[in-house]
């Protein structure tokens, strides 16, 4: 990749020099907005995680004490394990179902395109709206058993899993269909001629060939689950909550919502909320880098 750019820019001195002079038109607008919308808030965010502050102007340096408070906070620890459990369950559920649906829909079948349209549709609807649609449905179902969604953390957890599966299966299905369609037909046919049954063809021929799609979808569902916010807020908002070691813990809260509510509940905890956000960023970035490494390794093998 790098080599390609170098040789390309060398051979194009003819067009390179005039373009360079147009820096203020081509690159500057995007770069200024990038600094306002990302770079400066990011740097300031790291600095403020070491400060006590109400607004960025009255920040007082306090060292690592915000991080100590964040890790001692029972609600943050609970949100972390909750997120991890949620991620594992939704990764398995979404990927298995999305692959099964994609596999079935790539067979010769009437109405296959219509089904794709239907399954993908929820991705166009925002997380807040989805949360309210499903909270109405779950409440209506649970009412028959004399209870409601936010009565029990287990309901909230599985409710969120169902909502997210309902939303994301269609998205992952699209990626799996693209992967399945790229498997050479001759290869599948050759396996059949050699006497492989349907199951052997699936596990020995098709699945190894769609491994890149499986990697992509696994990491997409992983990062999506870790960043989950809108659906979590709209479905249960973290309820119910219990007291644990003198701190209020919202039982169905995931990490992103925990950071947000920490900031809103207490003015003295703005710095702690920012420290939690930095920890959260490191976690998400580590997952993304793991994805990059895994994808690179796959590419080398091919």
């Amino acid at each position: 990749m790098k080599k390609k750019t170098d040789s390309a820019s060398l051979s194009s001195e003819l067009i390179r020099r005039p373009i360079r002079r147009c820096f203020p038109i081509f690159l500057l607008p995007t770069f200024i907005c990038f600094c306002i919308g990302f770079l400066w808030p990011f740097i300031q965010g790291i600095y403020l995680s070491f400060c006590n502050f109400n607004t960025p102007k009255d920040a007082v340096w306090v060292g690592a004490s915000n991080y100590v408070k964040a890790f001692k906070d029972a609600s943050f620890v609970h949100a972390f394990w909750n997120t991890a459990a949620f991620a594992v369950v939704s990764i398995v559920l979404i990927n298995v179902l999305a692959f099964a649906i994609a596999y079935a829909l790539t067979q010769r079948m009437r109405g296959s395109n219509l089904f794709r349209t239907v399954f993908f549709m929820p991705n166009l609807i925002g997380g807040v709206v989805l949360g309210y649609i499903w909270s109405m449905i779950f409440d209506a179902i649970l009412k028959r058993y004399g209870t409601y969604l936010t009565a029990n953390a287990t309901y909230g957890f599985w409710g969120l899993v169902i909502l997210v599966a309902w939303q994301q299966i269609g998205y992952m299905m699209i990626i799996y269909i693209a992967g399945l369609q790229a498997v050479p037909g001759e290869m599948v046919e050759a396996a059949r001629i050699d006497g492989a049954n349907g199951r052997q063809t699936l596990f020995r021929v098709i699945i190894p060939n769609v491994m890149p799609s499986i990697t992509i979808c696994t990491f997409l569902t992983l990062t999506n689950s870790f960043k989950m916010f809108d659906q979590n807020m709209a479905l249960t908002g973290g309820a119910p909550s219990v007291m644990m070691n003198g701190a209020k813990v919202n039982m169905t809260e995931l990490l992103a919502l925990n950071i947000y509510s920490t900031y809103n509940i207490n003015k003295n905890w703005h710095g702690v909320a920012q420290a939690k956000a930095v920890v959260f960023f490191v976690l998400v970035a580590a997952l993304a880098i793991a994805q990059l490494v895994a994808t690179r390794n796959k590419e080398v093998q091919q």
Partner: protein, 281 residues
């Protein structure tokens, strides 16, 4: 025609008709409940409206005018913010991507890697500082929020455009340069037309993001004056208990309809955009 489908495939179709009901019923439930009285929704959300509980368009009328903020204003702001932000992102980041891949200096490499880096940073990391920065710079109105969207969304767009620009052969632009075409002219008459397929992919991803985004406009905009559709719906539900469920369902229906129309008309591009974005992101 009929012989092409075996019995097994017919069974599969039947099975999938049942499965897709799981995807359709929630939407139908919203539609049905949007025509029922609040008490009827609370009592049994799955019952069809009868003569007593049927409200006609009353929920829609009530939802449109509920509270001190009319819903059509939120729709207008959502539309404006989505269209302007997407347009701005497409033009600015494709120009930046072309500059980055054609100039290839140390500065452009740094900018490029910063853009890639921004893709892995979750919004929670910057949300407090971003909203205070936007307040300080007076960017907290719908007219200026596209600048924030361009800044925070530049990463993915620059990445996708750069990937495509690198695959364009240089000879075409060299020929244009020899013919005396300046960079701006070359960009708009030669490069931009070739970028169209990537524009559509990036555009679809940005529209889906901005239209449904809740937290960024919620934190950045001055909420007493400006709302978008997700903020409006959250605001209605925020006062739980006192809220009219029938009217809320009517508003949810109103917010879904444009999205479904957009989806059905641009389905091909949307699915292509998603597949392209996934492979790269």
């Amino acid at each position: 025609m009929k012989e092409r489908y075996s019995t097994a495939s017919k069974v599969l179709t039947a099975v999938f008709i049942v499965i897709s009901l799981v995807w359709i019923i929630p939407i139908i439930a919203v539609l049905v409940n949007s025509f029922k009285t609040n008490a009827a929704v609370n009592l049994n959300a799955f019952a069809l409206p009868n003569a007593e509980t049927f409200t006609g368009w009353a929920n829609y009328v009530k939802g449109m005018t509920f509270g001190n903020y009319p819903f059509w204003k939120s729709v207008g702001f959502s539309l404006f913010i989505t269209l302007v932000s997407t347009g701005l992102i497409l033009i600015c980041t494709s120009m930046a991507a072309w500059y980055i891949s054609r100039v290839g200096s140390t500065v452009t490499k740094i900018v490029y890697y910063l853009c890639i880096f921004s893709m892995v940073v979750p919004f929670q990391m910057v949300m407090f500082t971003l909203s205070s920065t936007a307040d300080t710079l007076k960017l907290n109105t719908p007219w200026t929020i596209p600048i924030i969207y361009l800044g925070f969304g530049a990463g993915l767009a620059v990445f996708m455009f750069t990937g495509f620009v690198r695959s364009i052969p240089l000879e075409i632009e060299e020929a244009a340069a020899i013919d005396g075409s300046g960079p701006l002219h070359t960009y708009f008459t030669v490069v931009l037309p070739m970028l169209k397929p990537t524009m559509v992919s990036v555009g679809v991803l940005e529209i889906m993001w901005v239209w449904n985004d809740y937290l960024l406009p919620y934190l950045v905009l001055d909420r007493t004056k400006y709302m978008t559709i997700p903020i409006h719906i959250q605001y209605l539900k925020g006062s739980y208990g006192s809220v009219d469920l029938g009217a809320t369902m009517a508003l949810i229906m109103l917010s879904i309809v444009p999205v479904v129309i957009f989806y059905l008309t641009c389905q091909k591009h949307i699915i292509k955009g998603v597949a392209a974005g996934a492979v790269k992101g």
